[in-house]
Symmetry: C2
Subunit: 523 residues, 2 copies
C-alpha cells in the first residue's frame, strides 16, 4: 500500500473528527447529563487507558442498557486495542456465562442493575473476568476509573482487525460470536449515514439496543454525522415522546414492536417539523397499518434487512421517489419488501435449490445470499461454522425470498430455525433442546406463531414420554429457568407430531396450523 | 485479508448497484436524450469492451465538455482496466500534447468541437494516440463503437490501483499527473454524498467540468446516490435555470464565478421547493453578497477546499446548525472559512515555519497539510515531485492559513505560485517562463489581481532588456500562442521590480499594490 495515502479505515476515526471539528457541540444526552464531543472523546480515551492494563489483550464484555457507558464502550474498548463483546441484557445466567467464557473476556463492564445476573454468571468460572460496575448506582466508581486514567487510543494498523464480537443465536443451539472488523464497521456506518441522511443537525434516540449488532453501527454512524446521541435506558413510549420533543429527535431505530409501541402510545403526537422523523426498522416488515399511522404522525419508515453476520442492515428497501405517487396500499406493499444492497454492500443474490440465481419474477423462491465488506470476518473460534456460513464467499442467510423484476428482494419464509420475537432472535433448536431435557418429554418441536405485539412468539408441540407427566406451566418454567425468558414458549400443545414417511418432523405443518387465516408471517 | 468479507473498494461498484437496484430510473439527461441506469451500465461496459483492445493496457485520455460521453468515460475507461486522463478543454495545443505524451495515453476520445485542437496536438507526435471522435457531430461513430462492442468490466483486485490521472499546473512549470486510486475515489464519493445529502430523489446539474479532479468525484457520487445526472455542454445561465426547473435539479457544483453567473442572470428565480438547492463551491470563498443573493433564491452554499492532489474537497466548511441563529454578516464570515476535514479525510493541520502546529488562535499563520485515503497516490512518473509534495506523509498544500479556536481552518494566503481564475489554476511560474522566453524580456513577475468576474486574473510586471522593445499586446499574444488563453496576463506593467537586499523579487509588494483598498484576496 502507498504510505502517502493509505490510512486504515476504522470507525473510531469518526470520534477523532467529531471532537476536532464539532468539539463544543452536544454529543451525548443521558438523563440530566450532557457531554460535548470533546468530552466524549476524552472520556472514551480515558476508558481505553483504564482498560489497557486490565484487559491485557483480551476482549472486554459489556452488559448494559443504552447508557452513556454503553456508548463510550463502543470507542473506549477498541481504543484499548481489544474487541468489544456486547452482551444481550435479556439472556439467562447460563447464556451470559457461556458468552463470557467462549469470548475469553478479561473484563466485564456492567450496569449495576445486573448485579445479580453477573454474580450468578461468573460464580464458579475457572477464569472469571474482572468486574467493572458502571452506570447509575455505581457510587461513582466508573467516574473515578476515568478520572484516574491516562488517555490512550490504540488504533489498528490493519483495518481488517477485530473490532467487536456479537453473539447470535444462529441456527444451532449455542450462541456464536460474530466477528466485526474495523473496515466493515467503518463502511457500514457510512452506509447508515447515507441512507438515513443524518447531518450535524440530527438527533438520534437510542431505542435500539446497542448490544444488537453494535446498535446497527449507529454508535459510530451518529458520531460520523456529528449528530446528537440521546440515551434511553428502557424503551418507554412516554419517555421516548418526551425526548423526541425536548431533544428534537430526528432519527431512531428499532424492531416493529418498538415502532408499534411508540405509535400506539397515548403520548404519540405529530411533530410540527418540516422533515419527517426517520425510523429505521428491521427484523420483520412494517405492516400497512403501522405505515399509515407512522405517516399520519410525520414519521418516515426505512425498512432494513440483514443478520448479525452482515452488520445488520446489509440490504434495505431503498425508497424510489416515483413510488410516492402510488396509492397507499401499493406503497405499503413496496415498503414491506426487504429490498436491495445498501450503498456499501457488494451484492445480494437469491439462489435456488439448483445453485443458480432464481429468475427475477417475484415468484420463484431461493435463499438470500450476501457478499461484501460488511459480511463478518467469521465466527470467533469456530472455523467450521464460519466455513458453513459462507462456503463459497457468499454469506448464506438461510432465509428464503423472491427477486422482483425491479431487483428488490422480498422475504417469503424466514430460516426455519429462527423465530424473531420483538426484534430478538430465538433459535427453535435451542428451545427444543431445553424442553427435551425435561425428563417427561419424549419429543418436541418449536415453531413461531403470530403475535400482534411481538410479531412472532415461540410455541411448543410436545410428545410426552410413556408414563411421564408434565404441565404446560411446568415446561414454560423449565425453559425460563435455563434460557432468556423471552425464549420460553407462550403455549405448549401436547400430542403426536406430524412426520414424514421417514420419520422426520414436519414443522411446516405446525407452522401452517399456527398461521392459518393470517397473511404469511413474513410478507 | 479475509476472503469472506474483503472486496476491493472501487467507485465503479456504484454503477453496478444503481443498475441492479434502480435500473429503470433515469440516470442521464443530455439534451433530448435520456438513459436509465440499466442503459448507462450497459453503455459503459460496452465502452470498456471497445477500449480493451485499443488501449492495450495504457491510459485513455478524454477531451470533452460535460456530455454523456464524458460521464460514460468515468466508468467505461477504468472498466477497460486502464486509467482515465481527463484533459482540461481550455488548454493550449502544446499543453494537450504534453499531457498526451507524458501520460503515455494510447487512445484519445474527444468531442468533435475539438477537432482542430486535437489535430494540432497530435501532429508530429512520435507515438500518437488512437483518436475516437465521440459526441454531437460525430456522425454516429461513437454509437457504432458501442453497438459493436462486447461488454467488459475489468475491476481491480487491488483497491489502491490507479483509477485516473488528473493533470494539474502544480507549482512548477509543467503539468503534473495526479494519480487517483479506486479506494480514494470510492471514499471521496461517499464523503461528497454524505455532506451534500444526495438521495435517489436528487438531480445533479453538471456545471462543474468533469475534467477538474474528475468532477470532484461526482460522476461516482451521483451514481452512488442513484440520483440523476443532467449534462450541460457549456455553462450558460439561461440553460442552467431552465434545467433546474425542468429536471428538478437539487445539487450543483462550481467555482464562485459560476455561482455568480447563475445568481446574476436575468433568468435567476427562487424555486418553490421545500428544500433549498445545494451549490458546492470551491477555489475561492463565497462573498457575503453571493451568500445573501443565494439565500434569497433558496440556494444553500457548501464551501469546500482542497487541491487536485486531495481529490478536490478534502475539507469543507461543515455547517453547524447553531450558526443559523447568528446575524447574516457573521454567518457569511463563518461560511467563508475553508473548514474541517470531510468525513473520510483523516486529518488536516496548520503547520508553522518551525514545523509545529500553530495554536488554534485564528491568527498564527501556517501551511495547510492534509493526510488520509484521499491524498493522491503520487504524481505519475515523477517520484521526485511526489516526495516533495508529501515528504513525511502529510500533503503540503503550499497554502497558508490559520486555525480558529473551534477547529476550522481559514485560508489567509494562497500558495504564492497559484492564481485561481474562474476556478482554473494558473501557476505564476509557467506564465513567467513563457514571458521570459520573449527575446525582449529581461525579467518578469506574474501575480494575481482582483477581478469581479473571475475572482483573480494574472497580471505581469516586466523588465525590458536593454535595447529591446515589446508592447503589452505583443506579450499577451505571446502567451496566448503558447498556453491556454485564460493563463495570459490581463495587464502588463513595465519598469523595475521590487527586490530584497539579496536581489530576490518581492512579489508580496506587487500583490499588495494590486489588492490595495480591497479586502484580502482570500479571506
Amino acid at each position: 500500500m502507498n504510505p502517502l495515502s493509505f490510512e486504515p479505515l476504522t470507525p473510531l476515526s469518526f470520534l477523532d473528527r467529531a471532537a476536532a471539528t464539532h468539539g463544543k457541540r452536544v454529543a451525548v444526552v443521558d438523563g440530566e447529563q450532557r457531554w460535548t464531543y470533546e468530552d466524549l472523546h476524552d472520556r472514551c480515551q480515558r476508558l481505553a487507558g483504564a482498560l489497557v492494563p486490565l484487559a491485557a489483550g483480551r476482549p472486554v464484555a459489556i452488559l448494559a442498557p443504552n447508557t452513556h457507558v454503553m456508548l463510550e464502550a463502543h470507542f473506549g474498548v477498541p481504543w484499548a486495542g481489544v474487541p468489544l463483546v456486547g452482551v444481550n441484557t435479556r439472556l439467562s445466567v447460563d447464556e451470559v456465562r457461556y458468552i463470557l467464557e467462549h469470548s475469553e473476556s478479561s473484563v466485564l463492564v456492567h450496569d449495576p442493575q445486573f448485579d445479580e445476573l453477573v454474580a450468578a454468571a461468573v460464580d464458579g468460572m475457572a477464569d472469571p473476568p474482572l468486574i467493572v460496575r458502571a452506570g447509575p448506582g455505581d457510587g461513582g466508581s466508573y467516574e473515578a476509573l476515568l478520572d484516574r486514567a491516562t488517555p490512550a487510543a490504540i488504533t489498528p494498523s490493519n483495518e481488517s482487525a477485530l473490532l467487536s464480537i456479537n453473539y447470535t443465536s444462529g441456527t444451532t443451539g449455542r450462541p456464536k460470536g460474530v466477528m466485526y472488523a474495523h473496515r466493515g464497521a467503518y463502511l457500514q456506518s457510512l452506509a447508515m449515514l447515507v441512507h438515513t441522511q443524518m447531518s450535524p443537525a440530527s438527533s438520534y434516540l437510542w431505542t435500539l439496543p446497542m448490544f444488537h449488532c453494535n446498535g446497527w453501527s449507529f454508535p459510530w454512524a451518529v458520531t460520523a454525522a456529528t449528530a446528537r446521541h440521546v440515551c434511553l435506558h428502557k424503551v418507554d413510549a412516554a419517555d421516548a415522546w418526551r425526548l423526541i420533543d425536548e431533544e428534537e429527535v430526528t432519527h431512531l431505530c428499532g424492531a416493529p414492536a418498538v415502532l408499534t409501541m411508540l405509535l400506539d402510545s397515548p403520548d404519540a403526537r405529530r411533530t410540527a417539523r418540516d422533515r419527517p422523523i426517520t425510523f429505521a426498522t428491521g427484523g420483520a416488515p412494517p405492516s400497512p397499518t403501522i405505515l399509515a399511522t407512522a405517516n399520519a404522525l410525520n414519521l418516515e419508515v426505512i425498512h432494513v434487512y440483514g443478520a448479525t453476520e452482515t452488520y445488520a442492515g446489509a440490504i434495505l428497501c431503498d425508497w424510489q421517489p416515483e413510488w410516492n405517487d402510488l396509492p397507499a396500499d401499493r406503497r405499503a406493499a413496496l415498503r414491506a419488501r426487504q429490498g436491495v444492497p445498501n450503498v456499501v454492500t457488494t451484492a445480494a443474490r437469491v439462489v435456488g435449490p439448483d445453485g443458480h440465481d432464481v429468475p427475477a419474477d417475484g415468484e420463484t423462491m431461493g435463499e438470500i445470499r450476501l457478499r461484501g465488506n460488511t459480511v463478518m470476518l467469521g465466527y470467533f473460534n469456530d472455523p467450521e461454522a464460519t466455513a458453513a456460513a459462507a462456503p463459497d464467499g457468499w454469506y448464506r442467510s438461510g432465509d428464503l425470498g423472491v427477486l422482483h423484476p425491479d431487483g428488490y428482494i422480498e422475504l417469503r419464509d424466514r430460516s426455519k430455525d429462527v423465530i424473531i420475537s420483538g426484534g430478538e432472535n430465538i433459535t427453535s433448536v435451542e428451545v427444543e433442546q431445553v424442553i427435551a431435557s425435561h425428563p417427561a418429554v419424549l419429543d418436541v418441536a418449536v415453531v413461531g406463531a403470530p403475535d400482534d405485539r411481538w410479531g412472532e412468539v415461540p410455541v411448543a408441540y410436545v410428545v410426552v414420554r410413556p408414563g411421564g407427566t408434565v404441565s404446560e406451566a411446568e415446561l414454560i418454567e423449565h425453559v425460563k429457568a435455563r434460557l432468556a425468558r423471552f425464549k420460553a414458549p407462550k403455549r405448549v400443545t401436547f400430542g403426536e407430531l406430524p412426520r414424514t414417511s421417514t420419520g422426520k418432523i414436519q414443522k411446516v405443518q405446525l407452522r401452517e396450523r399456527e398461521w392459518a387465516g393470517r397473511q404469511h408471517h413474513i410478507a
